[in-house]
């Protein structure tokens, strides 16, 4: 598993094909979503919009 944080502040945990993305909104609230098969470019452009519940 690898951890990476992009410029938009979205942190991703890359585990094989799965990408667990999370964004800390504030005040203990974190938005999270899991994606599969994202390219490096898609990972680097993930933003809070993509992880919003």
């Amino acid at each position: 598993m690898k951890i990476y944080t992009n410029d938009n502040g979205v942190t991703v945990y890359i585990d094989g094909d799965s990408v667990h993305a999370s964004y800390y909104v504030g005040e203990g609230v974190t938005w999270e979503k899991t994606f599969t098969r994202l390219t490096k470019k898609q990972i680097s452009s993930l933003s809070l919009d993509d992880v919003k519940p």
Partner: protein
């Protein structure tokens, strides 16, 4: 340890490179020998990776890739770059073909870049039987060099920013009770579940904070350390899950967390007022131009993003096609301001919104709904969410500013801007204070909270409260202190 990634003797993570299965660096013209073997692999890896990320979803490995010569030179070394890259991998297009020189990028970011294509012989495809193989680099000097190269940019930033340097130094003084934390994770989470794996990786990362070294005029960090666009700092401790916080060791007296209540709402309150004041100043200046008839008119490209429902209600109106006039003002809503800044308020901001929205769920759930339904949702013309209606009822001026600014910036950029306000307070003001007033006190900042030894917490909380009051223009932000361990 279940971490799939290995580490060198001195703690540098192994490097995984992906190259075409039929690629053998020794076949490259002017091959420089084993010492530089990995540089050929890295060159090919960039092509394989690059072709995947250059185009949209339906890309192939044969696509051309833009690579910056500076980046390649930095890694390969300026002395070896001509032999490995120019007279080696890209010579006569045998391995990599140079498609065009000095690819023109209108933004100028890639002005020194060229476009390259993999030779069809090495393009992974089912027809030619070429696949991608993983090559793991495990030797110490190569891994060290790789991370040195990777850490150069942040090192440059650290050199220029004393607060960032102090924060990094403090970070490297932290440790985690690794055995206890690992046992806890094993006991609590199902093995191989995402919660289990992420926690194990974070424990491993935190245990390596102390391995950061300042050598050769730069920081070598075997963990992530990054500043994002919003100014937030990302490192292993800023991402530590709540349930692992108690395993972080700071001092025998224990650790406390000081965090700001309703911080995001308060930061937006400040940002909204400042942005509105800026817009008003801009309008006043523009009015002067019109009256005087001299100078250039101020135009904006924000007009098309104005939310339509407010404009129909007369809160602002368009004037001409390339400028706008805004009547949003700097008024504040008493109830909202009291809830944000008065510790004796009967209702906090979330309770006010929950009451107005007639929400029966928990306060924690309401927080998530407020962020997703009022602050950082996409602006839809003529339509309001249940929580937006509640906000409009509770704090009409704040709501008007929020909607207007969101219309100008978009919800993503709004989040970045609010984060900048937060980062300014925590990473500039608070860290600056810690650096100058408590230079030996261990601390780390987790976005909108600070963790520090219990014995100094009361004094520091008092000072942070005072700094907060100044930062919020005389309004006293609310902080709370929790004992972590």
């Amino acid at each position: 340890m279940e971490n799939t990634q290995g580490f060198t003797k001195h703690g540098y993570p192994h490097i995984d490179l992906f190259v075409p299965s039929n690629f053998n660096p020794e076949e490259v013209p002017n091959y420089l020998g084993k010492r530089h073997h990995h540089k050929y692999l890295l060159g090919m890896n960039n092509m394989v990776y690059g072709s995947l990320i250059t185009k949209g979803r339906n890309k192939t490995f044969g696509e051309s890739v833009t690579l910056r010569s500076e980046t390649i030179r930095d890694y390969m070394g300026s002395r070896y770059y001509p032999e490995i890259w120019v007279n080696g991998l890209t010579k006569d297009g045998q391995f990599i073909d140079k498609v065009s020189s000095y690819y023109h990028d209108p933004k100028g970011i890639n002005s020194q870049a060229c476009r390259y294509k993999l030779n069809p012989k090495y393009v992974p495809s089912p027809t030619n039987g070429v696949t991608i193989k993983r090559v793991t680099i495990t030797d110490e000097p190569t891994c060290r060099r790789f991370y040195k190269w990777k850490d150069t940019a942040i090192s440059e930033r650290i050199k220029k920013d004393e607060n960032l340097a102090h924060e990094l130094y403090m970070l490297t003084q932290h440790d985690i009770k690794k055995e206890e934390a690992t046992a806890y994770v094993h006991k609590t989470y199902e093995k191989d579940s995402p919660q289990f794996t992420t926690r194990m990786v974070i424990i491993e990362e935190i245990s390596r904070l102390k391995d950061a070294r300042y050598t050769d005029d730069r920081w070598n960090m075997p963990f992530r350390f990054k500043v994002d666009r919003g100014g937030r700092l990302h490192h292993p401790l800023s991402h530590i899950p709540k349930d692992l916080e108690r395993f972080v060791y700071q001092s025998d007296s224990g650790t406390v967390e000081i965090d700001q209540r309703f911080s995001q709402l308060a930061y937006f309150h400040k940002f909204g007022l400042e942005k509105t004041a800026d817009i008003q100043r801009m309008q006043a200046k523009k009015k002067c131009h019109k009256i005087g008839g001299k100078g250039l008119p101020i135009t904006t490209n924000l007009d098309h993003r104005l939310p339509s429902d407010e404009s129909t209600q007369g809160s602002h109106s368009l004037q001409g096609s390339s400028s706008y006039h805004v009547t949003i003002n700097l008024s504040t809503d008493d109830a909202w301001k009291t809830a944000l800044f008065n510790p004796d308020a009967i209702f906090d901001p979330y309770q006010l919104l929950m009451k107005s929205a007639k929400y029966k769920g928990s306060r924690e759930d309401a927080k998530e709904k407020v962020f997703g339904g009022v602050y950082y949702n996409e602006l839809v013309k003529g339509r309001r969410t249940k929580w937006e209606k509640a906000m409009k009822h509770v704090a009409p001026h704040e709501y008007k500013r929020l909607r207007f600014i969101k219309g100008m910036l978009g919800n993503r950029e709004l989040a970045v801007q609010v984060t900048r306000v937060e980062s300014h307070f925590w990473h500039k003001i608070v860290v600056g204070y810690m650096r100058t007033q408590h230079p030996d006190t261990l601390f780390f900042i987790k976005h909108d909270a600070i963790f520090l030894p219990a014995e100094q917490a009361n004094d520091i909380l008092e000072d942070i409260s005072q700094m907060g009051k100044t930062f919020f223009g005389g309004n006293q932000p609310q902080f709370k202190m929790d004992v972590i361990s």
